[in-house]
Assembly symmetry: C2
Homo-oligomer: 317 residues x 2
């Protein structure tokens, strides 16, 4: 613990993901030390707080006030030397992460919990140059980390069980919904699921069944709405009426396999990429990234707050 | 038009989907004639209205009051003879629907708009025994039709263009969000997308990466939330930061094809179906279908109202 008695979280990297974590951790009263080699790290973080603090759950926060609990240390070894928790957000480059965790492992206290936001790498690989990678755990967030509840917690064979449970406890303490993967798998769960849907989405747009805009409308106005409220299995269980999922699956049975075989297999040629990129630019290009992100996050807040209210004790319908 | 000047919609079939449509149409002030051969059709509809009317958008409605605008006619030919619009919800049986639309085509006024809730059949096939199937259009809703906005509007080569545009106009008039498919495709768009996600969901549960409950949590706490607010292309466009979807796709490029090739291909054996069905029963079986459906619909209302409020003029953030 730092001198104030609050845990000190060291956030490595101040890109989009790092800034989301910084905002979330500060919003929950933690002290944050930012490790970034950017010479303007302080102004980058100040700007990030101005962007994200208005959409913190539980109400907007004053970014200037949050900034008072941030310190900056551009040297990794010095940044982590009294860390309670490290959340690493370096680029998805295995050699780079291995070097980083080698330094972190040698410099952080033995009891420090080491978390990585990686979306593709596993602890064993990232910790290959550490004396002991047992306290290195993947904590993979979704964009925006300060707002979207899920964090996928992933260990592998060499990971200490108590490091995984500490990671779960830590993420819960800052309002996240951690899900521990029971075995490691490439690209984890949520990205695999969205990748499966993206494949068919690209197929349908490339085949001219719907435009990109229409595809997005189909999703938000049906399955997106549904899956924000109940998950796919819960939903298909209801699809079976009184007989539940068993009836639904028995009814469709092998027909499901047939329908899966008929899903599209688009080729990601340069022409396809250029065509989809151009269509997205026409659809969304009139607004800046910051403006689109603010709109998205404002809607996320609205939905999360509505679901929380609907789940509340006074809402039994 | 019927004598009251309000359009008369004939709803064929009073199962779950039919009851949802009946509730929606009544809630928007239309007269509804129900064609059902069930001897207790009136009490089935009364019960359906008691179930669905509390979750009508715009506020709950009195089911008894709605019931005053319903008439019943068990004979199909007589039911449709002065119809303005027919919404058909018979079981997914091609021969049955062909016989139904043969009768409907011979008995309904020439100007009547003929809509089918089918999730798998196309107008040409369903209308094979009609003198003219040009005014037969698919209007495929999602469960619950009175609540989930999407309706997929599908014609094929023989469909009259003005029938499609009248269908769009009609569905908009009752608060739906119609999306017209630009070409017919098996199982339309939304079911293909959810089928793609289901395939990978079953794979991940069967592989023991997560339980069914954890899979549902992953979805509701990440991509479900996200896709209730913005669609997948919009979302991936933001994933590319300032460079948008073009940058995101260029960065991943052929890697996407590799990741798609690694998605699961579960076999729907009897053992798999029994295992998944049993897990769902353990998860959800303590509550009745009606109770689960009410909870789902209450959350749908909460999210839809929150998104509408967030999109309102006073919400610019």
């Amino acid at each position: 613990m730092s001198g104030t008695g609050r845990p000190t979280v060291v956030v490595i990297g101040a890109g989009t993901i790092g800034l989301g974590w910084i905002t979330l951790f500060l919003g929950h009263g933690l002290n944050v030390r930012v490790n970034s080699r950017a010479p303007d790290a302080r102004s980058v973080v100040a700007e990030g707080l101005r962007t994200f603090a208005p959409t913190l759950l539980g109400g907007p926060r004053d970014p200037e006030e949050l900034l008072e609990r941030v310190t900056f240390e551009p040297d990794v070894a010095r940044a982590v030397e009294d860390a309670d928790i490290v959340q690493e957000n370096a680029p998805e480059d295995l050699a780079l992460k291995q070097r980083l965790f080698e330094i972190i492992g040698a410099s952080a206290p033995d009891k420090a919990l080491l978390l990585s936001s990686t979306s593709t790498l596993l602890p064993e690989a990232m910790g290959a140059r550490m004396a002991d990678a047992g306290r290195l755990v993947v904590g993979h967030p979704f964009n925006s980390p300060h707002l979207v509840p899920l964090v996928e917690v992933v260990g592998d064979e060499g990971t200490a069980a108590d490091a995984v449970s500490e990671a779960v406890e830590f993420y819960r303490s800052v309002g996240k919904v951690p899900v521990v993967l029971r075995k490691p798998i490439a690209r984890f769960v949520a990205n695999r699921l969205q990748s499966a849907l993206l494949q068919e989405s690209i197929h349908l747009v490339r085949e001219g069944v719907v435009t990109m805009e229409e595809l997005d409308t189909v999703v938000t106005q049906s399955i997106g709405l549904r899956w924000s409220t109940i998950g796919p299995f819960h939903s298909f269980h209801l699809g079976g009426g009184e007989g539940g999922l068993l009836k639904w699956l028995s009814h469709l049975g092998v027909g499901l396999e047939t329908s899966w075989a008929e899903l599209g297999r688009p080729r990601m040629t340069e022409e396809t990429i250029a065509s989809l990129g151009g269509e997205a630019e026409r659809l969304f290009g009139a607004k800046s990234y910051a403006e689109l992100a603010r709109e998205r996050d404002r809607r996320h807040v609205a939905v999360l707050e509505a679901l929380e209210a609907a789940a509340g004790p006074g809402s039994a319908g």
